[in-house]
Amino acid sequence: MSDLGGWLAILIGGMVVTIKLAAATSVLSIALAGLLALMSISPFRVLRVFAGLYVDVFRSIPILALAISVYYGLGASLHQLGITPFGTGVIVLTAIEGAYLAELYRGSLQAIRLAQWDAASSLGMGWASTVRHVILPQALPPAIPITLNMIIAIIKDSSLVSLIAVNEITLVANQLIAETFKPIQIYAVVALLYVALILPLAQVSRWIEAVVTRRLGLQNRPDQEKALQRLSIQAEARAG
């Protein structure tokens, strides 16, 4: 038990890398997803088709399959370009998580009724100003809890890049286990560290979701329909 302090320091070091990895991936995924979602409601067919294809393809590819392919296939060239395993991890995770998030964002954009587009255009507003002044202000609040849930998924999925040599907590734990042969104890600490990071985020996300629902006056909908909607949003986010 005396070496618990030593392990903990090493594992927390790994957790810091996990947090950095998830933070970088989250920021880039939000940007990519926002761009793809806007493309998917744009008036240009080419952009809509591209965004649709991107989302369909990258949602179908398992993260680990992409990670291993990129690592084995492009690892040397990425290394020459000065991209570290950490950078490769961020790129791979973003390419896929961005596609999932784009699909969820598209859902919140399309939840705004078409009549509002008509109303805006009858006022002489163009696409950009309709999006900016009519659509986004309504679509953003529900997108906040969706984004937080996605960040939680990103933190969890970031463990996969331990398999392409990113020294985040799961990899650090495996190295520690190779030295100490104490998998149960070490994985238990790892699991607890993930829980300590994720549970508060999940709580905040639930709370924001409740506030948004109340503010938007959605609480009048029957329980059944609310339950159904939760179910489909959760399931959609989980298809990955």
Partner: protein, 216 residues
């Protein structure tokens, strides 16, 4: 043509193992998830508190870590599972904690009055659940359960991390033995796109139909 012939022995057996893992893990997830949901919705704190706690905790742990705990962790306490069983169990358990929530959301779609009606007919609570609630919940939980199957097909790649010879494992072997990455990468990702995309679309349509039927 030569490439296809040389890659097939690595990829095809792997694809079968992937199907085996995803079907197995899905069965674990669907049954364990239902059990967890039912236990969590009883009014017995001795049951609901530990169940809710473990569900919340496992939800926060990455699938890969759950898989490692099942494969490497259980091994040290004398439970030695082969990599395939460990993958089915680990991925299934990690998914069940989410499936449980689909069932619970599904239960919520049934108005409380139906439970009351069943009880007033003299049915026991479990009988009400079995004969009144669950049959009506099925249409609602089928789409998310199918989504979870699609998710598990992709998660099956994690099994390669404990040495189960699934699709990605086969592909990686090909990459390592031949030094050629692109054919295996294209084959794996292509197969995944072909397998999951139509399924995802079908589930979405099914979901729309379930929804429109309930509104009517």
């Amino acid at each position: 043509m030569d490439t296809i012939q040389s890659i097939a022995p690595y990829i095809l057996p792997g694809a079968l193992v992937t199907i085996e893992i995803s079907v197995g893990a899905w069965l674990v997830s669907a049954t364990l998830g239902l059990a967890l949901a039912l236990m969590r919705d009883t009014r017995r704190p001795l049951l609901t508190i530990p169940v809710s706690l473990s569900v919340e905790v496992i939800r926060a742990v990455p699938q890969l870590v759950v898989l490692y705990i099942v494969f490497f962790g259980l091994g040290t306490v004398g439970i030695n599972l082969d990599s395939l069983t460990a993958a089915i169990l680990g991925l299934g358990v990690a998914d069940a904690v989410f499936t449980a929530e689909y069932y619970r959301a599904g239960f919520l779609t049934i108005p409380q009055t139906q439970r009351d009606a069943g009880l007033s007919l003299g049915l026991k609570p479990l009988q009400v659940t079995r004969h009144v609630i669950i049959p009506q919940t099925i249409p609602f939980v089928v789409p998310p359960l199918l989504n979870s199957f699609v998710g598990l097909m992709k998660s099956a790649t994690l099994a390669s991390a404990v040495g189960a010879p699934e699709l990605l494992y086969g592909g990686r072997n090909y990459m390592e033995t031949t030094g050629r990455v692109a054919p295996a990468a294209v084959a794996i990702m292509g197969l995944y796109i072909v397998a999951t995309l139509p399924l995802t679309r079908a589930v979405r349509n099914l979901e729309k139909r379930v929804r429109s039927r309930t509104r009517a």
